[in-house]
């Protein structure tokens, strides 16, 4: 069980939240939005491999 992934995604979330706040305070809303989007994409790219792995395992275990 690789719990590291949970911590990595939490770290991405916190960093993106901080960057978002900084950029919004300095009046750069567009860049803040893009930062949020980039963080979300990075997190999803990390998860999608795991989800693929899970679905493949379920398919092979239950013979779907």
């Amino acid at each position: 069980m690789d719990v590291d992934m949970i911590f990595k995604i939490a770290a991405i979330g916190i960093i993106v939240a901080v960057l978002n706040q900084l950029l919004v305070r300095s009046g750069r809303e567009e860049q803040a939005l893009l930062t949020t989007l980039a963080g979300l994409i990075v997190a999803l790219m990390m998860i999608i491999g795991q989800i693929d792995n899970l679905f493949d395992t379920i398919k092979s275990v239950f013979g779907l």
Partner: protein, 130 residues
């Protein structure tokens, strides 16, 4: 198989998700999905043992293996649809989640249809014989 590890991972994931949720809801959702996937991946390896045991038992009691396969397939469909529906519900799309559940039920019905046909033809055969 370490149940304490699973519980710890779940609690840690919940706390981190709560921490992130206020400022970054998308990351909190990603965190929840990630936690679910990791926990299920951890436990799904053990399920193959159970299915193997059920197959062995069916062979010992000379039950038709086709029927057991249908049951195991239905179990797999339940696993997948529950996971997807819970993720959708977490994201606040309960309509999507319920649709996935409905899809799963229909798929299970389709998988079980040949069994129903066998049963009905058996009953018909008994009636015509009597």
């Amino acid at each position: 198989m370490n149940i304490a590890g699973v519980c710890g991972a779940a609690i840690v994931c919940a706390v981190l998700s709560l921490l992130v949720k206020k400022h970054n809801g998308e990351a909190a959702f990603a965190l929840q999905v990630c936690g679910c996937v990791i926990i299920i991946l951890y436990v799904i390896g053990e399920v193959s043992q159970i299915t193997e045991t059920i197959r062995d038992m069916a062979e010992n009691f000379s039950i038709n293996l086709e029927y057991i396969e249908v049951i195991i397939k239905a179990l797999g469909i339940c696993f997948l649809t529950e996971f997807a529906s819970d993720c959708c519900n977490d994201a606040g799309c309960s309509a999507l989640g319920n649709n996935v559940l409905l899809c799963g039920k229909i798929m299970i019905l389709i998988a079980a249809m040949p069994m129903l046909q066998d049963l009905l033809s058996l009953a018909l055969g008994l009636l015509s014989a009597g």
